[in-house]
């Protein structure tokens, strides 16, 4: 049996505050990175058989 996946921890205090600041100001991805994401999405979506995500 494979090891269970670790639970995502709850953030608190200063880490939670910093996380919310990052949420409010997400750093945009580079155009090259966006292009790669789009390319892979368009390519692999055509290969999906019964994908439900």
């Amino acid at each position: 049996m494979a090891k269970p996946v670790k639970e995502t921890p709850i953030l608190f205090g200063e880490e939670a505050r910093q996380f919310e600041v990052r949420m409010l100001h997400p750093k945009p991805l580079s155009p090259a990175r966006v292009k790669a994401i789009r390319r892979d999405y368009e390519f692999l979506r055509k290969k999906c058989v019964n994908c439900s995500f």
Binding site: M1, A2, K3, V5, K6, T8, P9, I10, L11, F12, G13, E15, A16, R17, F19, E20, R22, M23, L24, P26, K27, P28, L29, P31, A32, R33, V34, K35, A36, I37, R38, R39, D40, Y41, F43, L44, R45, K47, C48, V49, N50, C51, S52, F53
Partner: protein, 199 residues
């Protein structure tokens, strides 16, 4: 072009001519007969556990495979997740923060996410960029199709896979697990907000 970009480009050129490639969800009765990524735990999961996880609704796994030979090139498994924040102490600094950024007074404390429970590439395809392609598919699917609220993609990454995820734009969630065997990372789907048209 960076070596990373070259490897992704290689994966595309190799795969776009492969008409027998498919991405398939593993259902309860499905079996993967052969897969070796070099990690016993990741192998064990896809060879043994994945259909069980699907049946009891703990995770759903997808395999990228050759539909004729059945060779699995890579796989990933997903489960719903969330990033939760505890209440702050009611100090004046935090109150100023809230007043500035949450004028409506509404403050969510949990944010929906999708977790990459496991992701692996068969040793024969290592370094070809397949893993990056699978991550990009997950990111774009949850960004573009938006079937349910989802702000983040999370992953509990092996220490030796951290650089891979950092290159994809993932960030550490906490400093608590710095130096540990695995580390919780997240990707903010809103980092694609200004580029909706592009996706």
């Amino acid at each position: 072009m960076s070596s990373f970009a070259r490897s992704v480009s290689t994966a595309h050129s190799e795969m776009k001519h492969n008409d027998t490639l498919q991405l398939r969800r593993l259902d309860a009765g499905d079996v993967v007969k052969q897969f070796d990524c070099g990690d016993e735990d990741l192998n064990d999961f896809i060879l043994t556990d994945a259909p069980l996880y699907y049946r009891v609704r703990l995770a759903t796994s997808y395999v990228l495979e050759d539909k004729i030979s059945g060779d699995v090139i890579g796989y990933f498994s997903l489960a719903h997740d969330r990033i939760s924040l505890t209440d702050f102490p009611s100090n004046s600094a935090y109150n100023r923060f809230r007043k500035q950024f949450f004028a409506q007074g509404k403050m969510f404390k949990s944010y929906p996410a999708i977790k990459i429970c496991r992701l692996a590439t068969d040793k024969r395809h290592r370094g070809s960029g397949v893993g990056a392609m699978l991550v990009n598919l997950i990111i774009a699917s949850y960004k573009k199709e938006n079937r349910a609220g989802c702000r983040f993609v999370t992953v509990d990454a092996y220490a030796d896979a951290l650089d891979f995820y950092f290159k994809q734009g993932f960030l550490p969630l906490s400093k608590e697990d710095e130096g540990a065997d695995t580390r919780l990372l997240y990707f903010d789907l809103e980092s694609l907000r200004s580029t909706d048209d592009a996706l």
